[in-house]
């Protein structure tokens, strides 16, 4: 569906050149929700703008649904853009137009007849849950409602791809979840390919099938979301994964626990996917002469399965404890032992 080959984007004059996107190769399959995560300045905003030609690559090729965005221009590019919609962090609605008029705007651009525009707008207002607010102006709406208008507007021309530029970064956590649910249901109902950029791992975890991690213009790691959670390779990926799996003060919590539970061995377990549903702990307790207390647990749901961490206190003979930890290893559970 989307193919980027050796894409570079450099900004600036002869004296100072900034490489925003550096040798990126990406393939995004149809119907997937694809996340691109990176800190600000990583080049993800530029990357997503290459997909609808708002930026043109310095070299390399960008292909979306068979159209070579990087080499078309003028009318051809404008028509391609009608099928590659975009939603924005700050919504970018026209304040001078009502909800309905904002949604019909892309239809006006596409030259759709008035009756059809009205029909489509009404249907979309219903879809994004804004019935009754069609004649309100953007200034009368909350952030979440504005983004719903943004989404409805983006869907007006029945796009093949939806690009989300930090679409939830300006929203509070609850509204973020509601918008993410809406995006998921659109993806499932309409089979729309969604590409989103974010700096929040929470967003990736909640709705993405696949993810690319960006750092300094490069894509440093890609893969299935669950797999990435399971075995992040790059340092930056580990940092993003820890955003959602560990509370920020994990280290501090561990040393406090050490004080509270001076006995035994403290072990951190990481479960991935199906493992979380199997009774690993139950069999551990049954088969080894050790006592196990659960000090802390945390399970996160991703699109591909669950990812969880758990901190256990294992007390018993040193040998039995070692065997028990060995058993966990064999069961495919990642373990980390905290030294005394």
């Amino acid at each position: 569906m989307i193919q980027l080959a050796n894409v570079n984007k450099r900004f600036g004059t002869a004296s100072t050149v900034i490489t925003a996107v550096d040798g990126v190769n990406l393939t995004i399959e149809e119907g997937k929700i694809y996340g691109i995560i990176g800190y600000s300045g990583a080049g993800k905003s530029t990357l997503i703008r290459l997909l609808n030609g708002l930026e043109q690559p310095t070299d390399g090729s960008v292909e979306v649904n068979g159209r070579k965005i990087s080499s078309i221009g003028g009318k051809e590019l404008r028509q391609a853009r009608q099928k590659i919609s975009m939603i924005f962090q700050h919504f970018n609605l026209l304040w001078s137009r009502t909800v309905k008029e904002n949604i019909t705007f892309p239809l006006e651009i596409a030259g759709v007849k008035k009756a059809e525009r009205e029909r489509k707008a009404t249907e979309l207002i219903e879809l994004v849950g804004l019935a009754g607010r069609e004649n309100a102006y953007p200034s009368q709406l909350s952030g979440g409602q504005k983004q719903r208008v943004g989404i409805a507007r983006a869907l007006a021309n029945d796009p093949e791809v939806l690009l989300c530029d930090e679409a939830t970064s300006a929203l509070d956590p609850e509204t973020t979840d509601a918008i993410l649910d809406l995006l998921t249901s659109i993806n499932e109902r309409l089979g729309l390919t969604i590409v989103l950029i974010t700096h929040e791992m929470h967003v990736i975890r909640k709705i993405c099938h696949e993810v690319a991690v960006m750092e300094a213009g490069r894509v440093v790691e890609t893969g299935d979301v669950l797999q990435l959670f399971q075995s992040p390779k790059e340092q930056i990926t580990k940092r993003f994964v820890s955003q959602v799996t560990e509370p920020e003060d994990a280290k501090k919590v561990m040393s406090l626990m050490r004080q509270d539970y001076p006995e035994g061995t403290l072990v951190k377990l990481a479960f991935v996917g199906e493992r979380t549903e199997q009774p690993v702990l139950a069999s551990l307790i049954r088969e080894y002469p050790v006592d196990v207390s659960i000090l802390q647990g945390n399970i996160s749901q991703t699109r591909g399965g669950a990812y969880g961490t758990m901190i256990l206190q294992i007390t018993g003979e040193p040998e039995a404890t070692a065997n028990a930890i060995q058993y966990l290893h064999e069961q495919g559970v990642q373990t980390e032992v905290f030294e005394k």
Partner: protein, 222 residues
């Protein structure tokens, strides 16, 4: 009663002068709006980072606007006498005042248009481009409606300035309340004529300001 206090005021003449002032103001405001808008949009779109980004055109347009904005109006009228004569065929009367009024006010308004357009959220323009909008669609469906309150308050200020300019143009015989106040009032020492002409000009200005403010308030949905 009125005759005792304002013995020299010829009301028919006063009315004719008012109509002339209104006529000059209305026509010159209309042309100023169109020309200023075109110049302002050109300045905006040829600016760095915009759709028609073009340094040469931008600097050239900017310079012309700045030069004509800087020439004092009373001097501009004199400078434009040959041009007016060529265009209108005479240098007297309300029509003859128009080239100078428009050329004096349009660059002034173009600057205001530029400022109004620069106030528009860049993201909205990006959104329009991302939907595949043509430049004409961006101008007429995004730039103009999104900056309309600022454009209207700008044209209100400009129209009021134009009322002042018509009075100044009165000195070279353009007609209207300015001519009346200068020739019949000041030069013949009939203070009552000057006073009434001034009051009428003030009424015109207040009405314009009120109408402008009302329109802005109605249009602004932010």
């Amino acid at each position: 009663m009125i005759e005792t206090y304002l013995p020299n005021v010829d009301w028919a003449k006063m009315w004719d002068a008012t109509v002339e002032t209104l006529y000059m103001t209305a026509v010159s405001t209309l042309f100023t709006f169109i020309i200023g808008l075109a110049l302002g949009i050109l300045l905006f779109l040829t600016g760095p980072g915009h759709i028609w980004a073009n340094k040469i055109v931008n600097i050239l347009t900017g310079s012309i606007v700045n030069i004509f904005r800087s020439i004092p109006f009373i001097i501009l009228i004199i400078l434009l006498i040959p041009f007016t004569k060529f265009l209108i065929g005479t240098i007297r009367g309300p029509e003859a005042a128009m080239p100078a009024l428009i050329i004096g006010a349009a660059p002034f308004y173009a600057r205001m248009v530029l400022i109004a357009l620069q106030e528009i959220d860049k993201g909205v323009l990006e959104a329009a481009r991302s939907m595949g909008a043509k430049t004409s669609t961006i101008i007429f469906k995004v730039l103009l409606p999104e900056s309309m309150p600022a454009l209207i308050s700008g044209i209100t200020v400009t129209a009021i300035a134009l009322v002042g300019y018509t009075a100044m143009a009165g000195i070279i015989g353009a007609g209207g309340l300015g001519t009346l106040a200068f020739l019949d009032g000041f030069q013949r020492s009939r203070e009552d004529v000057t006073l009434v002409a001034t009051i009428l000009i003030l009424i015109v200005v207040f009405v314009l300001q009120f109408a402008g403010d009302f329109a802005v308030k109605k249009l602004d949905k932010r």
